[in-house]
């Protein structure tokens, strides 16, 4: 096989700590959003009904096999087939259907309440472009991370730039596809401060498995403060090392694909890097966010995340890579 082996993509253990044990961080069963809550309750109830049905079938099966002659004769009638196969399912299924439609209706009501989408998420191979619209209508471009204010319904406009993706943050809500030529709107409301994880759910080729993201829920004031910071231009390089790092960034042509607002880098093909250092992860929740990861990513990204659209850069002179990585890490 001619394929090269990727080195281990890793979610940082530090992040693991921050997520409080981590298990369930992407689980529909540990819901923290309104819709996910409703769905989980529906799951428990419908699941219990189904389990009861299974037990019923098994009991009849065992009786049919092992019951007394009288019980077996009672089972072996057309009436059993009609009541068990027709009446029972019609009653149970109608109930479940009505309940499910009510849940669906509740979701629609939340969407109506949330109003116009204030966040646009664009599916890309294989990362997420996230565009916030702040209260003054300015667009704030970020990537691979969705920040939400606590307890508010927020509508997300979901579109794609290339193939079909599906936005799925299980703790918040169910998934919704991103389809070329269409715009879908998903309304989410997170009721817990903290971090959860999501992932592309529709197979989108190549690195589909490595197209994840984090959802960070902040109290309202913190959210606003964060959004204001995110909207600002990048901090100018403070130290000599950072200045050298910026120079390497410019000379290496990184600006052809990436934007760092406040500098001449205005590329739009790759993720906006203006505040990349403040994000939870690199490469769509594939690597921890630290200087070392930047360096690994720049040189070895085709092993870490095969087929991603960034070419590897390896033609640095001694020390250049480190300064570049440190500069990117400083973009908080």
């Amino acid at each position: 096989m001619s394929h090269s082996r990727p080195t281990t993509p890793m979610v940082p253990s530090l992040l693991g700590l921050a997520l409080g044990g981590c298990e369930g961080v992407q689980s529909a069963l540990s819901a923290s959003g309104d819709e996910a809550h409703d769905i989980r309750l529906l799951l428990w109830i419908a699941g219990a009904v189904c389990a009861a049905t299974l037990v019923l079938v098994l009991v009849f099966g065992i009786l049919a096999f092992n019951g007394s002659a009288r019980v077996r004769a009672w089972i072996a009638r057309d009436q059993l087939i009609v009541s068990g196969g027709l009446v029972l399912p019609v009653v149970v299924l109608s109930g479940l259907l009505a309940y499910a439609l009510l849940v669906l209706q509740a979701g629609a009501a939340r969407s109506a309440f949330a109003g116009e989408p204030s966040v646009t998420i664009i599916g890309k191979r294989w990362w997420w472009k996230v565009i916030y619209r702040d209260s003054e209508g300015r667009e704030v471009v970020s990537a691979n991370e969705l920040r939400l204010p606590l307890g508010q319904p927020i509508s997300l406009r979901l579109i794609t730039d290339d193939v079909i993706h599906s936005f799925w943050a299980p703790k918040l809500a169910g998934k919704l596809d991103m389809i070329p030529g269409r715009t879908n709107v998903l309304t989410v409301q997170s009721n817990e401060v903290g971090v959860s994880r999501g992932q592309c759910a529709e197979y989108c080729g190549g690195a589909h498995a490595l197209m994840a993201f984090y959802v960070v829920t902040l109290p309202e004031e913190e959210y606003q403060a964060w959004l204001a910071r995110e909207a600002s231009k990048a901090l100018p390089p403070a130290t000599e090392a950072e200045k050298r790092g910026h120079a390497v960034f410019v000379e290496s042509g990184c600006g052809a694909c990436h934007t760092i607002r406040g500098t001449e880098a205005r590329g739009t093909i790759g993720p906006d890097l203006t505040h990349v250092g403040s994000r939870m992860s690199l490469a769509a929740a594939t690597l921890p966010n630290d200087a070392n990861s930047f360096a690994r990513w720049i040189t070895d990204n085709q092993h870490i995340k095969p087929e991603n659209l960034m070419p590897p850069f390896r033609h640095f002179k001694a020390g250049e890579l480190d300064t570049l990585a440190n500069y990117l890490d400083s973009l908080k």
Binding site: V11, V25, S27, L42, P89, L104, N184, E202, Y203, H208
Partner: protein
Amino acid sequence: MTASSDRRLPNPTPRPDDERDQLERIWSTPKGWRILSAVNNTAVGVAYIGGAFLFFLMAGVLALVMRTQLSVPENQFLDQDLYNQIFTVHGTTMMFLFAVPAIEALGVLLLPQMLAARDLPFPRLSAFAIWAYMIGGLVFFSTIFYDLAPKGGWFMYPPLTLTEYSPGHNADFWLLGIGFIEISAIAGAVEIVVGTLKTRPPGMSLARMPIFAWSMLIFAGMIMFAFPAVILATMLLEIERSFGWPFFTAAKGGDPLLWQHLFWFFGHPEVYIIFLPAAGLVSMIVPTMARHRLVGYNLIVVALIATGFFSFGLWVHHMFTTGIPALSLGFFSAASMAVAIPSGIQVFSWIATMAAARERFRITTASLFVLGFLFIFTIGGLTGVLVALVPLDFQLHDSYFVVAHFHYVLVGGMVFPLFATFYYWITMVSRNQLSERVGRWVFWLMFLGFNIAFLPMHWTGLSGMPRRIWTYPPSLGWDGLNMISTVGAFILAAGVLLFVVDLLRRFRPGQRENENPWGAGTLEWLPADVYSTRSIPRVSSREPLWDQPGLAEDVEAGHYYLPNAPTGGRETIVTSPVEAEPEYIIRMPGNGWGHVWAAIFTAACFLLLTVKVVVPALICALLAIASCIAWAWQLDHGPGKEPVEIGGGIKLPTYMSGPSSHSWWAMSVLILVAASLYVAFAFSYLYLWLVSPQVWAPHGSPPLPTPSWAIGTALLLALGTAIIVVANRLLPAPGRRDIRGVLLLFLAAACLAAAGLVELFVHWNSGLRPTANAYGAMVYMASALNLQVAFAVLIMAGFTVARAFVGRVDRERRVTFDNTLMLFVYGVAQTLLGLILVHGFPRAVG
């Protein structure tokens, strides 16, 4: 009533000694490598099921490779690209190269025996389909070994699978593989519809038909309406990939969701296409093991029909997360739940039959697999109810929960009944039975392994693991569950391996020694040889072997119908579709090479086209057509033989044309398939208009040609129809040679082709181009579909002319002529519909 007093046998007197030798000689299977030319259903049926099982094993190995990769997080065993290829090939192979062909194989193998027919009515068609499928399937599967395998998932959603995002031939190989299964599925549908409706034994009215035959009839009916959608979809995708007609490109007015609609309009019925016959098998095994007739036979038949019907109303439940309107969500959710009801009826029917068992329900390996099926399938059905609830589906869709669900449905609903079938019916084709002792191990390993592998996946999915990912980070709560699933997969595989070992030890081709080991009641357990049963019984119940004493002996002694071969060749009785009264003797073709070459050249043509080697591909296409002609040349033998006596004073003709003939029925099935295809096209046209009215004529594209062009084209079609009416009258009397009629037939076919070409010409002249936008693509696609039919009609008309030239077409020997005429009439209707759609619709809405 005693066994002897009330028996009025058709042929009560002892039969001559040499009759059996004659039957054996006529039906003998060629030896050595010449066995490739065999067409007898037992010979090709075994090859068919063997091929399908081989694909099951190979795709199963791929599953183990994937499970190994997923056993621990961040595993380096496979790389991303290979994993993406493997899951695509696993799914595609299991669905298209294993499940559907395995069911068709069982149809080919078991149906003639259950119907006590000597063979299915089109044995060479079956053989052709099998060889094309084997060659195409093996080439498709082998792409995994040289990095050429498709990697878009088994449902290949565009735009991911368009050239822009999937350059190279990988996706084309997927389309190739599907092409073969489309051919063999349609061939199978023709065979099975005509087989079940026309070759039942006298007296087996529809109400006495075995449930398996019912399920196969519905299976074939569903193929007729479901497969055309995917045939169209694959045509559109390959055309967009090769020539850039933008059916699925949103920027040019296409829509990726069109693919999803077409694919799932096929894909959902496909699940029931696989499941219904398997349920039919269970309905055969349960009564035998209970020694009691099936309780609720009528309800089961209704349930089967209802399932087939409902299954066409559910396809959108694969698209709940695409953002479709709430009203559609509600409708398709309700429909998806409704389909659970017929399955419930079947489950309770089987339970009731078990309860009705004389003494106790017998536990054999076959019945263990049936019980395992009941358990697993019930769970799969219930989780199906969960995914049919729209809000739940938002979470469960495309997660490992769905992976668990459909494996419960498909492995439970199809693989377990298939293994039950292996254990139950193995003596149809092997002298030895499989070991019951080993069978217990096989069952428990498979049953436990399956549940250990797939039950945890429900939680894996709820914990957020999407399907189709080759790696995952640790500590998301998925690690332990995945490891358990992998262990279970290997236990399941150990069970299958043990089965294979036992099969290799015990399988000895040939006829069984113990005629009816399970004491079953249906006709496949009659004493049989290569020619099937010695004579064809008249049946008066659903379980004739239980209710008609002495039946087996009388059949074997030749006391029933057609104990010999009065025409000197292969033949069986054709009966009426509802009451099964004898109508005529069908003379069937024997072993031959034409269909084998046709299969080889068809496969070669498709393969060469896939790798874009066009000229050799066209040569192969011509050779394939030539082989088909050589094969068909021997058919339509005409009424040369006198009517023959089959016993009981019944004298039957040996040739039939018109609506009673098997050929008329087969042509009708084919026309229904073509019509379904065109309806799917019309749907696609209207759907794209709904999505992108802005690219439609006259505003978004060059205005339509003036109406006079459409009218002129319609007149051309009318002229062709008038010509064919005259042609029909000019057919010569039997024994005379007169080619005026068939020449007119050819002229009419030329009118049809000319009408298609005129359409093409006027649109090209109006400035419209197929690559410009979705509207242009659809307009040219209409012509492409019309010309496709016209091309077939032209070839058939040419063939008819050639036959008339040597005096093989006349007023009585006219099946070749009739078939061409039928397809011509259909072609006219389709082309007219196309004219209304293409010329009328934009004017009506513009």
